[in-house]
């Protein structure tokens, strides 16, 4: 056995590959099951599927109610993306770039909302809105999403900030730039890849969020909220169809975002 450690390592590596592929198959299996169910012609799911049809996709696309949900989800996600990326960029600079008195405490406090159970956070916010007398709608859902997503995006951008060379900023100051100029011409371009991935995270996490929307969106519905309501009562193949569409939308966005990121990386000298 001990004769050939190289061979043993090769075998371990092969096992690791096999295990990873196996876990990945398990990760994507339910998503595939949903896609399969959405192409079933009959109303109730049975496998193997007897007749395949795209009629439930057509019905989902034609539905006015679903059109409204999709618009709500997109509006919430866009607003969350814009606001959170601005707040989190500064938040990340405070997290990773500057040494200031409250930094350690700040780093820990920012992590708490990420660790907090979302259904409970949603209920707490509902209670808060209620206490102040704010009617819940999709706008309050935007605020609720921000409470959870801003800390996540801050961490994502902070990782980029850690990798950045502060002496470049110093050099710009020494050459006589004002603070705004330094921020616009040096800091921002260097942080672009991090900001871009932060934006992707913000949009996609808001797009797929269910527990916060459930309690804070009031009468307005979003895609995950509607799907859950129909899963509990009133299944039709429109449920997996809309679920698959939302997944495909997220995948397209991630793919497009990834390509832009590659371009950004390439433009930036390592």
């Amino acid at each position: 056995m001990a004769t050939s450690p190289a061979l043993a390592r090769k075998r371990t590596n092969a096992l690791i590959w096999v295990w990873t592929v196996f876990v990945l198959v398990a990760v994507y299996l339910p998503i595939l099951c949903g896609a399969l169910a959405s192409f079933n012609k009959s109303r109730y799911f049975g496998f193997p599927i007897k007749v395949y049809a795209t009629e439930w996709w057509q019905k989902t696309l034609d539905s006015i109610e679903i059109g409204m949900l999709v618009r709500n989800s997109i509006a919430i996600a866009l607003l969350v993306t814009v606001i959170s990326v601005v707040i989190a960029t500064f938040g990340a600079l405070a997290f990773a770039r500057y040494d200031w008195k409250g930094r350690r405490l700040y780093q820990k406090l920012i992590i708490l909302p990420i660790f907090f159970p979302q259904p409970v956070l949603g209920l707490a916010l509902l209670l808060g809105f209620n206490a102040v007398g704010i009617q819940t709608s999709w706008l309050t859902a935007v605020f609720a999403h921000l409470v959870w997503i801003v800390p996540v995006v801050t961490l994502v951008i902070a990782i980029q900030v850690y990798g950045f060379d502060a002496s470049l900023e110093e050099a710009a100051y020494d050459l006589g730039c004002t603070r705004t100029q330094v921020f616009r011409e040096v800091t921002l371009p260097l942080l672009w890849p991090g900001i871009w991935s932060g934006m992707l995270f913000a949009f996609l996490l808001s797009w797929s969020n269910f527990p916060l929307s459930l309690y804070t969106a009031g009468a307005d519905s979003t895609i995950p909220k509607w799907l859950y309501a129909k899963m509990v009562a009133g299944y039709t193949p429109m449920v997996p169809a809309l679920g698959t569409m939302a997944t495909l939308g997220a995948a397209t966005l991630l793919l497009g975002g990834g390509l832009v990121m590659l371009l950004l990386r390439r433009r930036q000298p390592a």
Partner: protein, 301 residues
């Protein structure tokens, strides 16, 4: 300290700037601080206030009673059972995921090479698909006449086991949902292990088990601990798995809180439960985080 000694000399522009940077940091943190103050701390205060209100009332700030807490800790109340289920599930989820994720995290650092980025993306992507959708996919897989059952019958076998709506499948769903939260901190942790050190130990004749126990594991521990903490805490708050896959065969603690707020319209009791859970989570998180250096974890040089 050496900088201060040098600063006796007439102040240069750089020193002025360094002094100003202190306040710049605080100013950059301000928007986040305001957001979390209004959106996180204030609701927590509201919940705390509600938890002392008269049960089944909305008299917040006008009444003060410990009845809600008394009824939670009353042994005749079955709420401790939900809490026990949640903690138990969370512990099992952590243990299962540690075993599942370790080889993958190791692979991402040392085996996959140029595929590592792509494989990471494949593991991240499910986070962007609503957990409802993914868990419902498992329902379609496990349900009678579903994908598993149908395939087995088609092959002429007696059909799949009836696992849906049991505690076991709830645990499975939790391990499934929280995999990325264990995997990525663990990967970051293993990235902290210097390869040279492992190679040196190997050249000096250390066995693989020895290297793993004495070098890899201790050096990767911060990441592994963050992963375990994150999964544990998220699993304590999980509800979707028990509702969708478990078919409400058991009630977890977050579900109890939701029931108090919605069906039974007992906001003070729900708030008291939420306070107990929050204190538990905050204590655990803050203790663990106080032992970790986030700057080092995230890659500050």
């Amino acid at each position: 300290m050496a900088d201060i000694a040098l600063a006796r000399a007439p102040e240069t522009a750089r020193q002025v700037r360094q002094a100003r940077m202190l306040s710049v940091g605080a100013r950059c943190a301000l928007p986040v601080a305001v957001l979390l103050g209004i959106g996180f701390l204030a609701p927590m205060v509201a919940i705390l206030a509600y938890s002392f209100a008269t049960p089944r009332s909305f008299d917040v700030f006008r009444s003060f009673t410990l009845e809600n807490f008394a009824s939670i800790f009353d042994p005749t109340n079955t709420v401790w059972l939900s809490f026990a289920w949640s903690v138990g599930f969370a512990l099992f989820t952590v243990a299962i995921l540690a075993v599942i994720a370790y080889p993958i995290a190791y692979g991402l650092n040392a085996v996959f090479g140029r595929w590592a980025g792509f494989i990471s993306v494949l593991f991240v992507f499910p986070l962007f698909v609503s957990e409802n959708v993914r868990l419902y996919g498992w329902v379609l897989f496990f349900i009678k006449n579903g994908v598993l059952d149908g395939t087995l019958k088609w092959l002429g076998l007696p059909g799949g086991p009836e696992v849906l709506y049991t505690p076991g499948v709830t645990l499975f769903g939790m391990a499934y949902t929280y995999l990325p939260f264990m995997l990525f901190p663990m990967t970051l942790g293993l990235a902290l292990v210097p390869r040279d050190l492992v190679d040196a130990a190997r050249d000096l004749g250390a066995g693989r088990l020895f290297i793993w126990r004495e070098i890899e594991l201790p050096l990767a521990m911060p990441g592994i601990l963050i992963g375990m903490l994150l999964t544990f805490v998220l699993a304590i708050g999980a509800t979707a798995e028990a509702k969708i896959l478990g078919g409400q065969s058991i009630i977890v603690i977050s579900h109890d809180i939701e029931i108090a707020f919605t069906y039974s319209q007992n906001w003070p009791l729900g708030s008291a439960l939420a306070v107990v859970v929050s204190v538990f989570i905050a204590a655990l998180t803050l203790t663990a985080l106080s032992k970790l250096d986030l700057d080092r974890m995230l890659g500050r040089r």
